[in-house]
């Protein structure tokens, strides 16, 4: 296991397991909902991360995703629509000793809470955002969301949507995100892996989960997750390794000028050496953005960690400024403050 760079959060002295995080609440998501697999991944990863169980905190907004805190036995706060990221900002700044996890959806964080989403990322507050992207408003029963593909027929778009959807990865990188990963709800192992890496990352980590809504947007990610096509429509990123995919591992992604292109290994003399090698740690987000934007039918979707760059976190800088002020200021208690500057005695 890797050493965690973050020494702020106290680690558990005993080994934890899944049962330490099971809550006593009945899980009320629809049978077959992708959220169940996300919950299973969280239950896998929290004991692995190994912090004291009291130091985990889950925050959510509103939506199907946002019922999450009730189903995990941690400290938890179920907020109001769109505000999970704002609430969690206060949690982490006020108490950096907590490992803060945000469960949010494409409505909660891309629409009503879009402002808080970009600003928590821009500030690089050390939290982990699990973004359940099912491309639909589930809890309000089937209206289109900011990630619904253009043209989709929904309750509020009977003739098809006429809006360009967000690609969450582009939004994260555009907001100067330091960590972005993508996973699918059909792959618990992958979700667990990227959640673990998100926890290790110092700064705002965003994990987009392509999640199926069995009721209102069933098979919305079918072109990516279907067993028949997934080998050709998914590419699993590994740091330091070339971008290879396909059932026969014979396809790759190469940088041609300023654009990505798909090539076939062995054709026209193409070898692995010609392919783009993934560097998740590079500071410049240019190539990360190109990878995040890959989407069927022209490209496979990139899964795994797309970006994981080192930058100072907001919460560390807050603590550093306070420590500096306490070291240099003459005002160390409120009595000092009240008596500072021009004062005079009346007898």
């Amino acid at each position: 296991m890797f050493e965690f760079p973050d020494k702020t959060i106290e680690r558990s002295v005993v080994e934890l397991n899944k049962s330490d995080f099971v809550s006593d609440q009945m899980v009320k998501w629809c049978p077959g909902c992708g959220a169940h697999a996300i919950l299973a991944s969280i239950a896998n990863v929290f004991p692995k991360i190994g912090y004291r169980k009291e130091n985990f905190m889950m925050v959510s907004g509103i939506g199907c995703s946002s019922r999450f805190p009730y189903y995990v036995n941690t400290y938890g706060f179920h907020g109001i629509h769109g505000r999970a990221n704002a609430i969690a900002s206060g949690v982490k700044i006020a108490n950096p000793n907590l490992s803060v996890w945000i469960a949010t959806g494409d409505g909660d964080s891309m629409a009503i809470g879009g402002n808080h989403f970009i600003h928590i990322i821009r500030r690089n507050i050390d939290v982990n955002i699990v973004l359940f992207n099912n491309q639909i408003y589930g809890l309000t029963k089937g209206q289109y969301s900011p990630t619904t593909p253009m043209g989709s027929v929904t309750k509020t778009s009977p003739q098809g949507t006429i809006e360009h959807p967000f690609n969450p990865g582009e939004l994260v990188l555009g907001a100067q995100g330091t960590f972005f990963a993508r996973a699918v709800d059909t792959n618990v192992k992958l979700m667990t892996e990227v959640m673990f890496e998100a926890a290790r990352h110092d700064g705002t980590s965003v994990i987009e989960i392509l999640q199926n809504c069995i009721i209102f947007a069933d098979k919305t990610h079918e072109a990516i997750t279907d067993k028949e096509v997934r080998d050709d429509s998914q590419i699993h990123l590994k740091n330091g390794e070339p971008l290879i995919f396909g059932k026969n591992k014979d396809k790759g992604i190469r940088l041609n000028g300023s654009q990505l292109e798909i090539v076939t290994l062995g054709e026209n003399g193409i070898t692995e050496d010609d392919l783009l090698v993934h560097d998740q740690y590079q500071q410049d987000p240019g190539v990360h953005l190109m990878i995040a934007k890959m989407y069927p039918p022209h490209f496979p979707v990139a899964l795994g960690i797309i970006r994981s760059a080192m930058y100072p976190t907001y919460d560390d800088l807050v603590e550093a400024q306070i420590a500096k002020a306490q070291h240099t200021s003459k005002i160390l208690c409120v009595d000092d403050l009240l008596n500072s500057g021009d004062t005079w005695e009346i007898k």
């Binding site: 805190p69 706060f77 006020a94 306070i322």
Partner: protein
Amino acid sequence: MSDQTNFIEKEDVVVKFCGDSGDGMQLAGTLFSDAAALLGLDLATFPDYPAEIRAPHNTIAGVSGFQVHVGRKKIETSGDFVDILVAMNPASLKSNLKWTRPGATIIVDADSFDEATCKKAGYITNPLEDDSLEGYNLVKAPVTMLTRNALQALGIDNKTADRTRNVFTLGIIYHIFSWKLDTTVNYFKTKFKKKPEMIEANKLVLETGYSYADTVETLGSSYHIAKAKMPAGRYRNITGNVATAWGFLAAAERSGRPLFLGSYPITPATEILIELVKHKSLGAKVFQAEDEIAGICSAIGASYTGSLALTTTSGPGLSLKSEAIGLAVMTELPLVIVNVQRGGPSTGLPTKSEQSDLMQALFGRNGEAPVVVIAASTPADCFKYAYESAKIALEHMTPVILLTDGSLGNGSQLFRIPKVADLPSITPPLAEPNDKDYKPYKRDPETLVRKWAIPGTEGLRHRIGGLEKENGSGNVSTDPANHQLMTDLREAKVQKVADFIPEQGIVGDKKGDVLVVSWGGTRGTTEAAVEELQKQGKKISLAHFHHIMPLPKNTHEVLAGFKKIIVCELNSGQFVNYLRMKEPDFKYLQYNKVMGLPFTVTELVARFNEMF
């Protein structure tokens, strides 16, 4: 000449400095009030500035003023009418003349009154040359010319010289009061430590103004104000916004809970944010959020994790925070929301003061969402009420809305410095680690307050949120009977705060002909008006409310002692309607004003007189 000057003994004097924004009037007023304070006078100040940073030159819209009321008596307001007016240009004269007492001394920079500037201010003829100012003691001082001349000797150009014209007028004022110049000279020494030539220049201009006044016969008499009789102690001058910030810092220290402010800049509340962010050495965490909603939501997050959580705003911002206040009500978390009220609705009058957000504070949320509402009444007591708001929020696990207003926030007053150890203790209901009986909504049977289980504490993991909760367990519940119970409990919990606040006080006798009722920032004027009529032998008293929700327990008894009740407020009648709802046994008269201006003592005295 000066030894022939007559001294007129005064109880109090109102001085106002006004000019173009950028003429340094705020500074001149501040320096004058600091000097007065150090001489032992009581005082209150009020800045009056345009919303625009630099409005067009020499226009009425661009006039910036700073009013100072000094006296030996207790100073309760910044004064209705001005005794000494400094007007740096025609526009500032024009816009302030109606607030200037007949016979007042008006000092103008005569050099700035030409055809163009007079016309820009809306004068048809030059007011210094026609007879329109006959009823005043007019001093036509060539301020610009004399300042430039004085600084020429130091090789200072005219543009730089013109920036010290405010200091010249300050010199004239000091002469009128026969004050020494040292307080202000000391200020220059600190301010211009790195520019010694500016220390010299400002000192020279101050002295030039002082000497100039010596030669002006129209100034005639000098004012003398004896020291004020104030309770012994250490004092300072403080604005309401700074006092609010400091009250919270004191509450954080006394309660042992770290201070967290989530806020978004908005006039006239921004100074609280600016003040708190200076005090990282006291551990204050201040988060300038991306919007008003993130301001309060971050504070709610911080509150859940154990902070004394605050958010500060003004009217429009309170509207944006409404939904989140409901969340704090539902989660029963401590939170103080400060609303430094301004003129509304919408963007309204950002730099003018009003009391028109009372109904919003009381009821402006979806569902039945009771919160404690407290109002400060003077710049200095913003400290006390900020402290009390924090104490109630922390001890009763409830949001508290603290109402101040632009006049209080920007106005200043002398403040007797307390010792933090002498302030009332604050004991939040923290849950103990591994408390086997802990349940998120298990309540103290007396106060109905739930316990605060702070993340990180062993054995207390729990979930709360905005959905209705089952009483006790805190599980999500849609049970009809439980919703009724929780609605009643939330209301009762807030009402029980009445057991912990002081009884309503009365200025004057407990029985009489007229009871004046006021609340919040109008106290200075209502109290002065009532005291004036009391001196005339009228049976009039004042009940000035600081606690609005809940009302003090003796409210009914206070109201019952009088034949007539008149409720005065700077809105169309919000508190009076609240009283009609809460205390329906009485007939209420009302006196209201919604002009973005404070009451004057004069208008209140006139109105109250009609009631006898």
